[in-house]
C-alpha cells in the first residue's frame, strides 16, 4: 500500500480544538496477521468520528491500543497528548470506554455497578451519587437502576454501558458498537444523546460500528477500515465526492405507473446501456412505483441519465421523475474497499456488505430504504429533529 492512497484531505473538523486522539503509523501485528496497519488518525474535541468496517477489520484492536490495553507493535498513539503505554492511568481517567459486548456484575444493581466504576475513578461518594443519577437519567434507565443487572435485556446493558462510560465525565468517549442491541427508537435516543454531549460538553467521541446508517447519521467524520488499514477518511461529503464520481444512482418515476407498466419499465431500464442493476421501489407516500438504477462503475452518470431519459420517453412513458441520488455510505464503503483492494493488489477478497450476516439490524434497514434525501445535507442529519448541526 502506497502512502498516497491513505492520504486524505484534512478534516474540516474544528481545527482550533484540542487534539484528543492522534496516531502515527500505528501498527499491531499478531504473529502472521496484521490487525492494524500503519494507522494515521486524528480526532479533535467536539467531533464524532466513526470507525466503519467489517468485524475483524481492526477497529477494536485500534481502540484497545488507544486505551493502553494492547501494546502496539510499532508506531505511536497519543490520547489527550499522552502515550497510553506510558501513562495508562491518566489516559484511562480521561477516556470513557464502552467495550463491545459489555458486561456487568449480575448480582449487583445497575446503580451499584456504576458506583463501583465511580470508586475506581476516585470520585467522592457524595458527588458520585449525583453523577450516577444524572447519567442513568440520560440513558433512560432511572426506573430500572435499582434492579439486579442480570434481569436486564441486552439493550439495557448497552445503555448502562454508555452510562458507565459517562460516569467519570470523560474528555473522550470511545464506543465500540454502541447500538448493536438497542431497538430502533432507542438508537435514535442514544445517537441524539451522543450529539448533545458533543455539542454541550465539547467532548470527542470515537465510535466504531458496522451499521452504516447510524454512522452516517451521527458522525462528523468517518474512517473506513478494511483488513487493518484505514482506506479512507473524511466527512461524508468528502467521501461522496471521492468515491461517488465514478458511479451513482438514478431514481426514475414514470406515468402512468400502473401495475401492468411495472415490469415493462423495469425491463426497459435494465436494457439501458450503463445500468448495472434496477430495483423497483414502492413509494409509500403516493402509492407510485419508482425504480432505482445503479449506474455501472466507470460510466458517466450524466450519460446514463440521458440514455435513460431517451429510453423511457421512446417507449411512450411520460417521465415523472429522474433524480440523481448521491451515493449512500454503503456504496461509498463498498467502493472504497474495492478500490483499496485493487490498489493493494494483494487482497483478492471482495468484502461485500459490511453487515454482520444474519443480523440485519432492523432499524438500520428501515432507515436506508427511505426515499432518497433531496440534498446531501438532509441525508447527513440525524433522523431526529434537532439532532444534527
Amino acid at each position: 500500500m502506497t502512502e498516497h492512497a491513505i492520504a486524505e484531505p484534512v478534516a474540516p473538523a474544528p481545527l482550533d480544538h484540542e487534539i484528543l486522539v492522534s496516531t502515527r503509523r500505528l501498527t499491531k501485528r499478531y504473529e502472521e496477521r496484521v490487525a492494524v496497519d500503519r494507522l494515521d488518525l486524528e480526532v479533535r474535541a467536539g467531533e464524532i468520528f466513526g470507525l466503519l468496517g467489517q468485524n475483524g477489520a481492526g477497529k477494536t484492536t485500534t481502540i484497545l491500543m488507544l486505551l493502553g490495553l494492547t501494546e502496539p507493535t510499532s508506531g505511536e498513539a497519543r490520547v489527550a497528548g499522552l502515550d497510553p503505554q506510558r501513562s495508562p492511568l491518566e489516559v484511562k481517567r480521561r477516556v470513557g470506554y464502552l467495550p463491545d459486548a459489555v458486561g456487568f456484575y449480575g448480582d449487583l444493581t445497575g446503580r451499584q455497578n456504576l458506583r463501583y466504576t465511580a470508586r475506581l475513578n476516585g470520585l467522592p461518594s457524595g458527588e458520585a451519587g449525583a453523577r450516577i443519577g444524572e447519567v442513568l437519567e440520560q440513558v433512560g434507565l432511572t426506573d430500572r437502576a435499582d434492579t439486579r443487572v442480570d434481569t436486564y435485556s441486552r439493550g439495557m446493558l448497552q445503555r448502562l454501558g454508555i452510562a458507565d462510560a459517562l460516569v467519570k465525565d470523560p474528555d473522550l468517549l470511545i464506543l465500540d458498537e454502541p447500538t448493536t442491541a438497542i431497538d430502533p427508537i432507542g438508537v435514535v435516543e442514544i445517537l441524539d444523546l451522543l450529539r448533545r454531549l458533543v455539542r454541550e460538553r465539547e467532548l470527542a467521541i470515537l465510535l466504531s460500528s458496522h451499521l452504516l446508517t447510524q454512522v452516517q447519521s451521527v458522525c462528523d467524520r468517518i474512517g473506513i477500515f478494511a483488513a487493518g488499514r484505514l482506506i479512507a477518511q473524511g466527512t461524508l461529503d468528502e467521501l461522496a465526492r471521492r468515491y461517488g464520481s465514478e458511479a451513482g444512482e438514478l431514481l426514475v418515476g414514470v406515468e402512468p405507473a400502473t401495475a401492468h407498466a411495472r415490469d415493462e419499465v423495469a425491463a426497459l431500464l435494465r436494457s439501458v446501456d450503463g445500468a448495472a442493476a434496477v430495483e423497483t421501489i414502492e413509494d409509500g407516500e403516493d402509492g407510485d412505483w419508482r425504480w432505482r438504477v445503479d449506474v455501472a462503475a466507470g460510466r458517466d452518470l450524466s450519460e446514463v441519465r440521458a440514455a435513460t431519459l431517451a429510453a423511457v420517453t421512446g417507449a411512450g412513458f411520460r417521465l415523472a421523475d429522474l433524480g440523481r441520488r448521491p451515493p449512500s455510505l454503503e456504496e461509498i464503503y463498498r467502493r472504497a474497499v474495492e478500490r483499496a483492494a485493487v490498489t493493494a493488489g494483494a487482497n483478492p477478497r471482495r468484502p461485500g456488505t459490511p453487515r454482520r450476516s444474519g443480523s440485519p439490524a432492523a432499524g438500520d434497514r428501515v432507515v436506508s430504504r427511505r426515499p432518497p434525501p433531496q440534498s446531501r445535507d438532509a441525508g447527513r442529519s440525524a433522523p431526529t429533529p434537532g439532532a444534527g448541526t
Binding site: T60, L64, L67, L69, T70, P88, L89, E90, K92, R93, V95, Y97, P99, D100, A101, V102, G103, F104, Y105, G106, D107, Y116, T117, A118, R119, L120, N121, G122, L123, P124, E127, A128, E134, E137, Q138, V139, G140, L141, T142, D143, G161, D164, K168, D169, I185, G186, E189, D192, L193, R196, L197, E200, R201, E202
Partner: protein, 347 residues
C-alpha cells in the same frame, strides 16, 4: 423510557469535577470483592464446614481432653490439646472417625482457598466485565491483588472467629486457663494457616488467569491439591529412591542421603510444609522436623521424659517452612502477574 431521554438537562459543562484515581486501586477492588463474598454462597459453605469442624471438636474433644489431661506431664499443654486431640466417642472411648480440628482445617484450607480463587479473573472475563474494569484508572495487578486480599480477608476472618470460639468454649466448659506460651502457639498456628491458605488462593488465582474457563481452572487447582496431599508421599519416596537408593541393607550414609532427598522433595510440597509447621507449633514436644538419626531416636526413647520446647524455639524450628510457603505463594503471584499483563483483554 423513550421520552425522558431528550428532556434531561445535561449538567453544566464548566463545573466538571473529576475524581483523582485512587492511589491504591486494589483497595477499591478488595472492598467490592469483600462485600460480594459475604453475600456469596461460598462464604456460607465455608462457614458451615468450619463450623461443623468446630462443633465436633467442642463436642468430642472435651472428653478426650479430660482423659489425657491427667497423663500430661507438663500440664501447660492442655489448652492446645483441645485442637490436636482426635475426638473420641463418648460411649465407647474408641477414637471417632474424625480427625482433630487442626487436621480438619489443614485438609479443608486448600479447598477453601481454591473455592475463593478459581474464577477470580476468568469469571470477570466470562461476565464481560474485564475490559470495562481494566479501562478504569487502575493497574492490572490491582485487580489480582484486590481479589486476593478480599478472599484472604474473608477466610482469615472466619478461621480466626471459629478458632476463637472453640478456645472460648474450651475455657468456659473445661476451665482450662491457657498460658501465654499456648496462646502464642495458637496465634502462630493461625498465622501459618492463613499463609498456607494464601498459597492455595494464589495458586487458584493463577489458574484463573491462565485458563479461560472457570471449570478447567477449578479442576487443575484441585488436581494439584490431590497431587500434593495424596500422591506426594508416594512420589517423593519413589524419586528419592531413584536419586539415592537407601534400602534396609545399605549403609547409614546412604540412608541419610535418601532421607535428605526425601525431605528436600517433600519440602517442595506446600501441604507437607504446612503439616510440619503445624505439628511443631501445636506439639511442644517435637524438637525437629528433619531426619531423626537412629542415635537421636534412641536418645529420645531412653531419655524417658520428653522435654517441652519453648514457643520461641518451636518458631525457630518452623521458620524455614513458613518462608518456603511464602516463597511458593510469591512465585504463583509472579507468574500470574506476568501472564495477566501479557494477555489480551478482549473476550
Amino acid at each position: 423510557m423513550s421520552a425522558d431521554v431528550r428532556t434531561v438537562p445535561l449538567s453544566p459543562a464548566p463545573e466538571r469535577t473529576r475524581g483523582r484515581p485512587p492511589r491504591a486501586g486494589w483497595r477499591v477492588v478488595a472492598a467490592k470483592e469483600f462485600g460480594d463474598y459475604l453475600s456469596n454462597v461460598r462464604f456460607w459453605i465455608l462457614l458451615l464446614i468450619l463450623g461443623l469442624a468446630a462443633a465436633t471438636t467442642v463436642y468430642f474433644a472435651a472428653s478426650a481432653v479430660r482423659d489425657i489431661a491427667s497423663n500430661l506431664s507438663g500440664g501447660g499443654t492442655v489448652f492446645i490439646a483441645m485442637f490436636t486431640v482426635a475426638p473420641s466417642d463418648l460411649s465407647t472411648s474408641q477414637p471417632a472417625q474424625i480427625p482433630p480440628f487442626y487436621g480438619l482445617v489443614g485438609f479443608l484450607l486448600p479447598l477453601v482457598g481454591i473455592a475463593f480463587g478459581f474464577d477470580a479473573i476468568n469469571g470477570e472475563r466470562a461476565q464481560g466485565t474485564l475490559p470495562r474494569l481494566l479501562a478504569q484508572p487502575i493497574h492490572r495487578d490491582d485487580v489480582i491483588n484486590g481479589k486476593f486480599a478480599a478472599g484472604l480477608a474473608v477466610i482469615a476472618t472466619v478461621l480466626v472467629a471459629i478458632t476463637g470460639l472453640i478456645a472460648a468454649i474450651g475455657i468456659v466448659r473445661l476451665g482450662i486457663t491457657p498460658g501465654i506460651d499456648e496462646v502464642a502457639r495458637l496465634i502462630a498456628w493461625l498465622v501459618v494457616s492463613i499463609v498456607y491458605v494464601g498459597f492455595w488462593l494464589a495458586f487458584a488465582t493463577l489458574c484463573s488467569v491462565a485458563l479461560r474457563r472457570a471449570a478447567t481452572s477449578a479442576l487443575v487447582a484441585i488436581g494439584l491439591w490431590l497431587l500434593v496431599t495424596i500422591f506426594a508421599t508416594f512420589l517423593v519416596s519413589t524419586i528419592a529412591g531413584i536419586l539415592a537408593p537407601g534400602g534396609s541393607g545399605s549403609s547409614i550414609d546412604d540412608q541419610v542421603a535418601n532421607a535428605n532427598w526425601t525431605q528436600f522433595l517433600s519440602s517442595l510440597s506446600p501441604s507437607t510444609l504446612y503439616q510440619q509447621a503445624t505439628v511443631v507449633l501445636l506439639n511442644p514436644t517435637y524438637q525437629t522436623v528433619g531426619v531423626i538419626l537412629p542415635s537421636q531416636a534412641q536418645q529420645l526413647q531412653t531419655g524417658g521424659i520428653p522435654t517441652i520446647l519453648p514457643f520461641s524455639q518451636s518458631l525457630l524450628l518452623i521458620w524455614p517452612q513458613v518462608v518456603a510457603i511464602v516463597g511458593l505463594t510469591v512465585a504463583c503471584f509472579a507468574v500470574a502477574y506476568v501472564l495477566f499483563l501479557r494477555q489480551e483483554v478482549r473476550a
